[in-house]
């Protein structure tokens, strides 16, 4: 069988600090050579060997991650094709960046169950398993479809539909002048094409920017728990996890690990970052220093600042106050079971309009109130998370990048004087790729548009 090359995160989530990305297909080794920098080029190494190196973004030459790469040449592989498996650091953001780099270099994101399907079609899996394979494809696809549709609901979907409609109108205009050259429809001018394409280009770039910033709603609101040592950050985290099931999804790359925890608080997904530090040393600030923690904090959507009811405010606490000032903060006063030495009024004076919750993790008191506060923050729109247009999923990012490159080619073509019907080719491709994101079929859209937009006929 003759297939293209696919890639996806192969490890299930919630299992360890390492993710494995599997790349399979005739170009697997060639594609990996574009992004892997190690002692050897992968095309020269023996089959079934492991290599240490780095994944680099070939465009920016930035190091994406430190990795181990297994090269397995066909036919003795899972899919009976050339397979490269990349073991990289776990965690959504880093794993997705590695995957994205591989996708940008020529692989296609695998469909659900596609590795297994190939294994079967290439004769690797026994006939008796065919039904299981079919079930797998069916169930995974249906679930993935559901997830995909949910993801593009709302603003993102509307935005993409709007972009597509702009493109469609432009295409219809081009098509009508081609198919009805003698009709009194004004020819599409290069200026108009340029204007429309630039508009779409800007929007796609903006969307990709949201992806880059990692402002990923589906992955959760980036949350940092911060506080001096021994204020009970770790036990608070454990309490939140204990109370609420960690988010389990089937999306490649959403894996739980030591530095990120996923918690669903009354429907609000939180991605609690930097908890690794909390666990290991009980103190982020101490470990990475105020400067670096300030950076981590700046990237957070929500900060849970934990104070100890049993201790007076220290200079360290006040330093933290300065750092998080102006950010989305919930002040949590823990250890309410201890005698009060903390000057709550001073805290309130410093954070006048900030929610302040008193809890005792030990006695399991106040956790509910905290959860309610988090929920309220979202329902009252403090974070306006539901209104923001976020692009998260690797598939969408990959499609958006392709759509962008097509629209860029269209713009280049307009500028260099290429005939309009060829420009239409790139515009149409961009339109199709955007359609894939929201799962819209190509269908007769264009022809419908031509006849509703223009009056034609003999």
């Amino acid at each position: 069988m003759d297939f293209d090359t696919i890639a996806a995160v192969a490890t299930p989530m919630g299992e360890g600090s390492i993710s494995v990305i599997r790349v399979s297909g005739p170009e697997a080794i060639k594609i990996m050579d574009r992004v892997f920098k190690g002692k050897n080029t992968l095309s020269t190494v023996d089959s079934h060997t492991i290599h240490y190196g780095h994944i680099m973004d070939p465009d920016t030459e930035e190091t994406v991650d430190e990795v181990l790469v297994s090269v397995m040449k066909e036919p003795r592989t899972f899919t009976r094709e050339d397979v490269v498996e990349v073991s990289c650091h776990g965690g959504i953001v880093s794993t997705n960046r590695v995957l994205q780099t591989i996708l940008d270099s020529g692989a296609r994101l695998a469909e659900p169950g596609e590795f297994t399907k190939r294994a079967f079609l290439n004769g690797r899996i026994d006939l008796s398993q065919a039904e299981a394979v079919i079930d797998l494809i069916r169930s995974k696809t249906d679930r993935a479809m559901k997830v995909a549709v949910q993801q593009v609901e709302g603003k993102l979907s509307r935005l993409i539909q709007k972009l597509r409609h702009n493109l469609l109108e432009t295409m219809a205009h081009i098509e009508v002048t081609i198919d009805y050259p003698e009709h009194d429809v004004e020819d599409v001018t290069r200026n108009l094409l340029l204007e429309k394409s630039e508009e779409v280009k800007m929007e796609i770039e903006r969307l990709l920017q949201t992806a880059k910033e990692g402002k990923i709603l589906r992955e959760g609101i980036s949350t940092v728990i911060i506080g001096r040592p021994n204020v009970g950050k770790s036990s608070l985290l454990n309490a939140l996890i204990h109370e609420n099931k960690a988010i389990v999804t089937d999306i490649p790359g959403t894996t739980r690990d030591v530095i990120e925890e996923y918690v669903n608080i009354r429907g609000v997904p939180l991605r609690i970052v930097d908890t690794a530090g909390i666990r290991e040393t009980e103190d982020v600030v101490e470990k990475i220093g105020v400067e670096r923690s300030r950076k981590a904090l700046e990237e957070a959507d929500l900060i849970l600042l934990v104070l100890n009811h049993g201790e007076a405010l220290s200079n360290e606490d006040r330093q933290l106050f300065e750092v998080v000032k102006g950010m989305n903060v919930i002040i949590i006063i823990n250890k309410m079971d201890l005698p009060g030495k903390l000057n709550v009024e001073e805290v309130k004076a410093f954070f006048p309009d900030t929610p302040l919750i008193k809890i005792s993790v030990k006695n399991e008191e106040g956790i509910e109130q905290l959860e309610e506060t988090i929920q309220d923050l979202f329902s009252t729109g403090t974070f306006q998370a539901a209104d923001l247009t976020y692009v998260s999923n690797s598939r969408h990012v990959s499609l958006l990048k392709q759509a962008l490159s097509s629209i860029n080619e269209a713009i280049e073509a307009v500028q260099s004087g290429v005939p309009v019907d060829m420009i239409a080719f790139d515009i149409k491709r961009s339109w199709e790729l955007l359609g894939e994101i929201i799962g819209e079929e190509v269908h007769e859209d264009l022809i419908d548009q031509i006849f509703s937009q223009f009056c034609l006929g003999k």
Partner: protein
């Protein structure tokens, strides 16, 4: 009616319009003893609507017909009164030749060709029944009682099936242009189990040339460059062309139409058939585009020896008095004498998803259908299908695989694939936007795409094939030269580039790279570095297009690779989709109805998802393995 046993044939073609003529000629030329039956011998290859052939997509089809060995291109080359290349300001893929026909000469010429074809019998008869035995077509029965036997039957009944003409309140059973309609055959097809639909189309009035004030109109002459549809044509009529004329409707015209909408069968419910969106009546245009202050009207001569002029843009089924009134509001037509009124016509068509891509029906073996009967509209669309149906009806008898053009090969392939895979809910017209590989399906390269195939089928003569092979070699040879020869920055070259406004050379570069500059054409390359021997214009054209648009062509070829892989995976005809676990219900029903011949075709059915395709692939593999382990 007493029946009698008439002659036996290999192939019977029912109808002698644009589809029927091609089908009959192809079958006869492929060695089959062929009978072509038509209701009226005076209407062979008749053009009941516009007197023109070609245009975007349609003109491409005519070229393809020629490359495969059909007749339409040659016939129009002999009988046109004007030729124009359209879209010359756009890319080569959408350049499109259009001819105004002398419709009377066109008919005469085609009839003569049919009459003179050895192996072909042309006869006047109305077919009322198809003889079917155990699901296999075996011949036809005519109104006069003749029972003709045949191995394969091709039906091309155009708009004749239960045809009904509508003008205002007036309705009567009729074929086009008051020809006799075919009623019983439609009932027969229904009785045989075919699902039928009712479509509608229409035609504008014809007016007397002498009553038109042309000084009020804009002249539209033909090109003064010799042009032809057929690759075999060597004679041109550049100096002897008739012009068309352009005028417009105005507010007054629209007022009259608006005031009479209650008498328009389009809106009164009198018309039940679905009309084509791309060919709306004038009343439809006015209603749908109220804001448009005027609509174009073209006056086209119907021939050299007639005063009849076709009023393009005024297709209508309004009552005759309204037709007259609105026409007289138009500049130049104030005193126009109407010679024939416009009318709408309703007819039966079969749902085309009932066909294999060979155009054989799934229901009845050895029965083929083509043309407007399959839900299309347009002479060119009909002729393209007729040719394929004729070829495949002949090959069926000769036990050869049917010829199926894919979407990357020809507009004809796009059309047939659309029809048999998706069906159509209005009369189907080809548009260039229907072709996803438009840059490959060009007007200029129809011969390069299809002549090899036409030769293999047996409709291209040895002599023509040799000529074609030589052309191909010359193109490749010259392309090689341009890739391997460098232009040097010498004074002559810089001078040429300067005059063109093109950047002067810093270093020597490949001629091909130079040709890729938008402002540089082959003519300039020839000046900078002439080939050993000067080349024919069509060779130069190919070299220029293929090099200039190489990047785009390569992109499309990559897509085609994907298509070929999917189309190459064949699906057995005996698959029971309802037995395949894992297919969604909608997919099972659609697949069962269409019975796609390949995974590629299956993937183009709306409602069949990528997951369904995966399931199908796995199922096929399972079946294959089970089959091989059983044997």
């Amino acid at each position: 009616m007493m029946q009698y046993e008439a002659d036996e044939f290999d192939v019977i073609v029912v109808g002698a319009g644009h589809a029927g003529s091609e089908a009959a000629l192809a079958a006869a030329r492929l060695g089959c003893k062929t009978l072509c039956l038509t209701i009226n011998l005076d209407s062979v290859a008749f053009m009941p609507c516009n007197p023109s052939i070609g245009g975007p997509a349609k003109g491409h089809v005519v070229r393809e017909i020629d490359a495969l060995g059909g007749e339409m291109a040659k016939n129009i080359d002999k009988t046109h009164i004007q030729m124009r290349m359209l879209n010359t300001g756009k890319g080569p893929a959408v350049h499109a030749l259009r001819a105004q026909a002398d419709k009377f000469l066109y008919q005469q010429e085609m009839k003569k060709t049919l009459e003179n074809e050895p192996n072909l019998t042309l006869r006047q008869a109305m077919v009322e029944e198809i003889i079917v035995n155990n699901g296999v077509a075996e011949g036809v029965v005519t109104k006069t009682g003749a029972r003709y036997k045949a191995k394969t039957v091709v039906i091309t009944t155009g708009t004749y099936l239960r045809g009904k003409i509508i003008i205002g309140d007036l309705q009567y059973e009729s074929g086009p242009n008051n020809m006799a309609p075919s009623i019983n055959l439609s009932h027969n097809l229904r009785d045989l189990g075919f699902e039928m639909v009712r479509f509608k189309t229409g035609t504008p009035p014809r007016v007397n040339k002498n009553s038109i004030r042309f000084e009020e109109m804009e002249i539209q002459p033909g090109d003064d460059v010799p042009r032809a549809f057929s690759y075999e044509t060597t004679e041109y009529k550049t100096d002897d062309q008739l012009p068309c004329w352009l005028t417009y409707t105005n507010e007054k015209t629209h007022e009259i139409i608006n005031a009479n909408l209650h008498r328009a069968p389009m809106f009164s419910g009198a018309i039940e058939g679905t009309g084509p969106r791309y060919c709306p009546s004038i009343e439809d245009k006015i209603v749908r585009f109220q804001d448009k202050p005027r609509h174009q009207i073209f006056l086209e001569p119907e021939g050299r020896d007639t005063l009849e002029m076709y009023v393009q843009g005024l297709s209508t089924s309004l009552p005759e008095d309204v037709q007259l009134n609105m026409m007289h509001t138009i500049a130049g037509l104030e005193n126009a004498t109407m010679m024939r009124p416009g009318y709408a016509i309703e007819y039966d068509a079969i749902v085309p998803t009932q066909l294999w891509p060979s155009l054989e029906t799934k229901l009845i073996e050895n029965l083929f259908t083509a043309g407007q009967l399959n839900g299309t509209s347009g002479y060119e669309e009909a002729a393209g299908q007729g040719l394929m149906a004729g070829i495949n009806a002949a090959r069926k008898i000769q036990n050869r695989e049917p010829v199926i053009l894919d979407r990357s090969q020809a507009y004809i392939g796009v059309m047939i694939d659309d029809l048999v895979t998706k069906g159509t809910n209005e009369p189907y017209r080809l548009l260039t936007s229907r072709a996803e590989y438009r840059l490959l399906l060009r007007h200029d390269n129809a011969d390069l795409r299809l002549t090899d195939l036409g030769y293999e089928i047996g409709l291209i003569s040895e002599e023509r094939y040799q000529k074609f092979t030589l052309k191909k070699e010359q193109i490749e040879h010259e392309k090689d030269r341009l890739y391997n020869t460098k232009a040097r920055p010498d004074e002559k070259t810089q001078q040429i580039l300067r005059e063109l406004g093109s950047k002067e050379l810093d270093n020597a570069i490949e001629l091909a790279a130079l040709l890729r500059r938008p402002e540089v054409t082959y003519k300039h390359i020839e000046m900078i570095s002439p080939p050993e021997q000067s080349l024919a214009q069509d060779v130069k054209e190919q070299v220029e297009i293929q090099i200039k648009y190489e990047g785009y062509i390569r992109k499309q070829l990559q897509d085609v690779e994907r298509l070929k892989k999917l189309d190459g995976k064949k699906l057995p005809a005996d698959l029971n989709y309802f037995d395949i676990q894992g297919l969604a219900m909608e997919a099972r029903e659609k697949l069962d109805k269409v019975k796609p011949i390949s995974i590629g075709q299956a993937s183009r059915i709306s409602g069949v998802t990528p997951a369904d395709i995966s399931v199908l692939l796995v199922y096929l593999e399972q079946r294959k393995k089970a089959g091989s382990s059983a044997s």
